[in-house]
Amino acid sequence: MSLNASEIQRIANLARLELTPDQSERMLTQINSFFEIVEQMRAVDTSGIEPLAHPVAVMQDIALRLRDDIASEPNQREANQQSAPAIERGLFLVPKVIE
């Protein structure tokens, strides 16, 4: 399979990446050459195989660890916002959100 220019645009939009026309062009070529080596993977018969999401599940049964419901984080707004691009009265400022 191979992608076309409009798919590159659709994905770039989903990923919120602005691509110049020549960047899209290069991206298209590189991604398609990558998908050539993916073909062999698609051909593998995986019927009956359970997907592996967490590698150590092969070694042991894994279950989500749960913590007690205790609120212990102090207010660290200043430290947490020290690298923020735009702040006013403790709020992160962004271009207007239109609903």
């Binding site: 919120r16 602005e18 990558f34 993977m41 092969v58 690298s83 271009p95």
Partner: protein, 498 residues
């Protein structure tokens, strides 16, 4: 006495405990050495002294050193008190900026230290600075850093490997006795191999991922990089251990003393040799030293067990589907809202997102975000992501099959020695293919170690890879140490750095 920078972590720790040298003197020595070797590892980035270090903070370093001396004096010293270390710039740190090699995080300051950084500090280690790496740990040559390219101390025209390239180069050039690295698809083992040092990636979940900027969450693991297996064992013992309050994927296995088996003889050790690691693609100048190393282990009483890892080649597409998929989601938080780069005067919200991310991310990161977004997008998930996860299980099962026949698996880390800077930079797929021998263990979550075992073309180091079963790090370090007691490749030093 030998120069401080020629001492191993173990020796340096002993000197400090014996108070033959102070932590402050040690820190000053290494800071001066880093400054002296300015150009050696590439052009300095802003606030850095050379291509390997991207951030230094002499004040903070010396403050840590003074605290270490105080603890040494008070007899409350940690196991590695006063020993310097430098951290890959993918670990967040309070005292130093953290950039992950990306414009996106230029001058970013974390309000907390990564768990791994904190654990090493609690053993008394003193942080020299932050080390260059491929942007968000995506790359195999350190050419994807937004800052300067790092040069290989063995040949300045060559790459040091990646993504932990700065870590490998700094240790090889003896600018630091030890460094942290992270390994997602080979990012500790491959640069260790290219720079002639020793590095180990533990079992997935051994080291906390908290404070390690995520690239591919189900693959990322932290590990130590130093000159010997003995040093790596000391460092690994310090940085591993459960982190139940911060990382849901950290294993519930207590920290271990990974040095405990170092002296154990390897008589009767069954070394699995996967045929797929010795095929066409393996360069002759790498094959030679690897075969010699295997022979050396046999001479020490080990036995060779030929076996197969039939899906080795599939590891490449599987990894380059799964890792970008996770990365595309992990990197969504870099949107110009809460921290990091934001484009000046965006037209509107969408424009802010798109320009911010276009300006902040480099080409390789963009490529992987695009691939990852695509394989997760509607209608493709099953064919790519799910299929890759299924083959991932098959690959992991192949290893379990193999470990019924052997104790460790051995082979090359890479098909070739370090290539020239720029040689593959506009051919991403060529870079991907070069990861073939490190990806399988990463996908299975198995521990993997790289140790120097000879020199190939152009006098460039060659690394031997040892892969162990889950939680068998101590065995890998034992085998590596036994090899290093019988050989001296790990003591070889790049000429330019004397």
């Amino acid at each position: 006495m030998t120069a401080l920078h020629d001492l191993s972590v173990a020796a340096l720790a002993a000197e400090l405990r014996a108070k033959r040298v102070s932590a402050v003197e040690t820190a000053q020595h290494f800071l001066a050495r880093a400054a002296h070797h300015t150009a050696l590892l590439g052009a300095p980035a802003e606030g850095a002294s050379n291509g390997a270090f991207v951030a230094l903070n002499e004040e903070a370093t010396l403050a840590q050193a003074r605290a270490a001396d105080a603890r040494l004096a008070a007899g409350t010293a940690g196991r590695l008190e006063g020993v310097p270390i430098a951290h890959k710039d993918i670990f967040v740190t309070r005292d130093f900026p953290t950039t992950a090699g990306s414009k996106m995080l230029r001058n970013y300051r974390s309000p907390f230290d990564a768990t791994v950084v904190a654990r090493l500090a609690s053993e008394g280690m003193v942080t020299l600075g932050k080390l260059n790496c491929d942007e968000f740990a995506m790359g195999s040559g350190n050419e994807n850093s937004a800052w300067s390219a790092v040069r290989n101390p063995w040949d300045a025209s060559r790459i040091p490997g990646g993504s932990s390239g700065g870590s490998a180069a700094a240790v090889a050039a003896r600018l630091t006795p030890a460094a942290t690295g992270t390994d997602t698809g080979g990012s500790i083992r491959q640069p260790a191999s290219f720079c002639g040092i020793t590095g180990i990636k533990p079992t997935y979940g051994r080291a906390s991922r908290y404070g390690m900027i995520a690239y591919a969450s189900s693959l990322d693991q932290a590990g130590p990089m130093a000159r010997s297996a003995e040093d790596c064992a000391l460092l690994l013992s310090a940085l591993c251990g459960p982190d139940p309050d911060r990382d849901s994927t950290s294993l519930d296995v207590p920290a271990e003393d990974f040095s405990r088996d170092l002296q154990r003889p390897i008589q009767g050790l069954r070394i699995g040799i996967p045929a797929e690691f010795f095929g066409e693609g393996l360069a002759a100048d790498v094959r030679g030293p690897i075969e010699a190393a295997l022979q050396a282990l046999v001479d020490q009483g080990a036995v060779r067990v030929p076996l197969h890892l039939p899906r080795t080649e599939l590891a490449i597409p599987v990894y380059y589907i799964l890792a970008p998929a996770e990365a595309s989601s992990n990197l969504s938080r870099f949107d110009g809202v809460k921290f990091g780069h934001r484009t000046p005067n965006p037209a509107d919200l969408i424009d802010m997102y798109k320009k911010t991310r276009a300006e902040g991310f480099g080409d390789e990161v963009k490529r992987r975000i695009m691939i990852g977004t695509y394989v997760l997008s509607h209608g493709y998930y099953d064919a790519y992501y799910l299929q890759a996860q299924k083959i991932r299980r098959m690959i992991a099962s192949d290893f379990q099959q193999a470990f019924t026949q052997c104790d460790v698996i051995a082979g090359p880390v890479t098909p070739t020695v370090a290539w020239k800077i720029g040689e593959k930079s506009d051919d991403p797929v060529a870079n991907y293919l070069a990861d073939i021998f490190t990806l399988p263990a990463s996908l299975a979550g198995l521990p993997g170690l790289s140790l120097p075992c000879g020199l190939g073309a152009g006098g460039m180091p060659v690394g031997l890879q040892l892969i162990g079963n889950y939680l068998n790090e101590a065995r890998l370090l034992n085998v590596a140490h036994q090899y290093q007691t019988a050989t001296d490749w790990h003591t070889r030093q790049p000429g330019a750095t004397a």
